[in-house]
Amino acid sequence: MVDDVKVIAEVPSFTVTLMVRRYDPEVSEEVKWVDYEVTVYGTDRVLDALHKIKWEIDGSLTFRRSCAHGVCGSDAMRINGRNRLACKTLIKDLDITQPIYVEPIKGLAVEKDLVVNMEPFYKAYRDINPFLIANDKPEKERLQSPEDRARFDDTTKCILCAACTTSCPVFWTDGQYFGPAAIVNAHRFIFDSRDEGAEVRLDILNDKEGVWRCRTTFNCTEACPRGIQVTKAIAEVKQAILKGRP
């Protein structure tokens, strides 16, 4: 047994450069890239590096974060050109010989540094009726077979981080597209056997800004920190609209 024990060797520290795209309209209308050098460890994530900058170098650097382990969805940002959660991106997994580029997610108005206005994103979510619609009044729990439960398991994992929607080239064009996150959350209810509102949601997503705008670019699927098969979910919703039922 002792031999099985994986020894987590003392992780040496190393220095990396972070290039952060900064913007504070109270200071200047200008957007600028600022580089910071920080010392980090092998288990450090990009969030730790950002904290180091904020706590040791420049307190005005602003970003959202809370849980620090990928469950609250606060800290989606573009790291080295791709949307990710800062708290789930280990620095050692990036190419540390190059500066690490950190910038806000794209397609939503930047408020300050890495903070964007999420309201249009939340609005799209609210627009698809993200709640159970069922009229019966059961005494106890509604029954649901494990198979029916499994049907929508993947899309229940969404943490509304917006990594998907803001990685979508269609969303970038005009911000009008409902976006993958809203569709994922619609999927979660459309395929829930207890729900009776599928028709309404399918109708909503049959909009000209709905599922048909998806060009299957898969950026969303690749960006999703929860590993949700977003494009697949969108395809399933498209099929459901064609069939007129889930």
């Binding site: 904020k54 602003t62 729990e141 029954l143 994992k157």
Partner: protein, 595 residues
């Protein structure tokens, strides 16, 4: 809206029910209140970012869907798990109303895992037993290892459905109390809007606090960066007491070095703790239920293994959670998220390798004292009318000296719902308490201190020193000496806090400023925790004193009640008075806690 001389804009709002916090407890209350009266929910985070979403394992309820169970057994386990410091009337309510709480959630749409015949599935969890401790029972209702996530999402979804009014990214920094008919009553809360730096006064007939925990007083914690205990701190600053603050739970299985939680479900599904020798050491500490013993026992056992040199790893400073004997399908189906944490953050493959774990600061058993109607108390039995608290920030007390796993998600649902119900009941009858002229003055003071902070001390450094000292002196093992050391250190840090530096001078999204203010709350709560821990000269539940190793029911079968005194202390802690409050016992007299 008005502008004051500092150029701060102040907005005024009026709602019948004002709820502070949009975690599980806050939103559950809102769902109860919203359809009846004008309700506002104020939260410093967008609701689904609340830390309830991090909860993994499950929610206890004696549904008896998979095996025989009863609410009495659940009550007994809760009382025993809490080392008999539980108020048994509250525990009975918790256990009785659990079934309804789970069914409510299911009916709102929560996707619980299901049994083959379509009912809500249940699994084992530490400390939950059949027939008063005879054998483990399947009582935890769950949705994979994302139960908290699903609760938070479902509650938010229901709030969207009901059209609840949210004020997100609003930091409540003060509770305004006013004299009303010769009585001190809550009148409003004052919030700081992150996006603009404006102040908002929310007048309410009923004000509900549901601001969650304060794990950030420790360094190694499963809690979010935002869990700084602001709500509890605000109540404290109002001169209201805090109950049982010395009882802080350390969860046995945090990822070593990081504190990120691996749910007890890992052991519920059959995971085994081993020391460096590969020995299943819990067999020695809790022969009957072994790895599923209550958290305080397991955490101490682990700390003890490490202290006695049987820790694993290069520094022998952690133990191992072994899942390798579980079929990968079981791991994937039941524990997908937490195994991913192990892979992402430590690079360990749980299918084949044991995962390094060590206790992590997890849950505050203590907090704002309330009765079973969630009304806040100003002493052992006087109610502050119109003020309510529920969830982790409150102490009813159903968790006593040690909370059982899955009882908190239950707590936030049962007592969150009650808070909503009683807040409405009160607000229907009551009048608005007029908001005093100087309502925002306290917050103005706070902001002024931080805004003008051009000192040399960095907030992050002070916070880290605080957390280090709390980890070192007030964690799983405590002594009079270590606690005094912590008190001294906190006093020193408070002095240095006068000389802090806030670099961000702006109004918009000034998180630099808010971190400075949050640190103030952390100091207050750490100090109360340490003081009450020092005064409790016994060992019980999550509180273990090496200088008083046994439970002492003669003297300490009582809740602690800490009060802030209105004086400048000469010695650290002198401005805190620790008093005691009897425990409500109904059916279960204290017994030795053996598993």
């Amino acid at each position: 809206m008005s502008l004051n001389e500092h150029g701060t804009k102040t907005h005024h709002h009026q709602h019948d029910v004002v709820i502070v916090g949009a975690g599980g407890a806050g939103m559950r209350a809102a769902i109860e209140a919203g359809p009846h009266l004008k309700t506002a929910v104020i939260s410093k985070l967008f609701p689904t970012r609340s830390h309830t979403g991090a909860a993994q394992g499950g929610m206890a309820a004696a549904l008896a869907n998979v095996e025989e169970d009863s609410w009495e057994w659940h009550t007994f386990d809760t009382v025993k798990g809490g080392d008999y410091l539980v108020d048994q009337d509250a525990a009975e309510i918790l256990a009785k109303e659990s079934v309804e709480a789970v069914i409510d959630l299911e009916n709102m749409g929560l996707p619980f895992n299901r049994t083959p015949d379509g009912k809500i599935d249940q699994r084992r969890f530490g400390g939950h037993t059949r027939d008063h401790g005879k054998a483990p029972v399947r009582r935890s209702c769950y949705a994979a290892d994302r139960t908290g996530h699903m609760i938070l999402q479902t509650l938010y979804q229901t709030c969207v459905k009901l059209g609840i009014e949210f004020f997100n990214e609003f930091y409540v920094l003060d509770l305004v109390m006013a004299d009303y008919n010769g009585e001190k009553r809550p009148s409003a809360v004052v919030a700081f809007e992150l996006a603009t730096g404006d102040l908002h006064v929310f007048q309410g007939k009923s004000i509900v606090f549901a601001t969650g925990g304060f794990g950030k007083i420790y360094k190694t914690t499963s809690n979010a960066h935002t869990l700084t205990g602001d709500g509890v701190g605000i109540i404290w600053r109002k001169g209201l007491p805090l109950e049982d603050m010395e009882f802080y739970q350390f969860h046995p299985t945090g990822l070593a070095g990081l504190g990120i939680l691996l749910s007890e479900a890992a052991r519920g599904e059959g995971g085994i703790l081993r020391n460096a020798l590969g020995e299943r050491f819990m067999e020695r500490y809790a022969p009957t239920i072994k790895d599923l013993a209550p958290r305080d026992m397991v955490a101490r056992a682990m700390a003890n293994e490490v202290r006695e040199g049987r820790g694993a790893g290069p520094n022998k400073d952690y133990v191992l959670l072994d899942l390798t004997h579980l079929p990968p399908e079981v791991i994937d189906a039941k524990l997908p998220d937490i195994t991913e944490f192990a892979r992402t953050y430590l690079g360990v493959e749980p299918y084949t390798e044991p995962v390094p774990v060590f206790p992590t600061a997890h849950y505050a058993m203590g907090g704002i004292p309330t009765n079973v109607k969630t009304e806040v108390l100003s002493d052992n039995d006087t109610v502050v009318r119109g003020l309510f608290a529920a969830g982790e920030c409150a102490c009813v007390s159903v968790h006593g000296a040690n909370r059982l796993g899955t009882n908190s998600l239950l707590d936030i649902n049962v007592f969150g719902k009650r808070a909503g119900r009683y807040a409405v009941e009160y607000a229907r009858e009551a009048d608005f308490v007029p908001v005093p002229e100087n309502a925002i003055s306290e917050v103005e003071k706070l902001l002024a201190i931080a805004r003008n902070a051009t000192g040399t001390e960095k907030v992050a450094v002070l916070r880290k020193e605080l957390q280090d000292t709390m980890d070192k002196n007030a964690q799983v093992y405590r002594t009079e000496e270590s606690l005094n050391e912590a008190l001294e250190k906190i006093a020193e840090l408070r002095v240095r806090y006068q000389n802090i530096q806030v670099q961000d001078r702006g109004k918009r999204f000034n998180t630099d400023l808010l971190e400075a203010i949050e640190l103030g709350f952390l100091f207050d709560l750490s100090e109360v925790l340490v003081m009450t821990a020092r005064e409790r000269r016994e060992s019980r539940g999550g509180h273990f004193r090496e200088d008083y190793e046994t439970r002492n029911d003669e003297e300490f079968m009582v809740h602690s009640m800490a009060y802030k005194l209105d004086k400048t202390p000469e010695k650290p802690g002198e401005d805190i008075r620790v008093d005691w409050k009897p425990v409500t016992v109904t059916n279960y007299p204290a017994m030795e806690r053996k598993y």
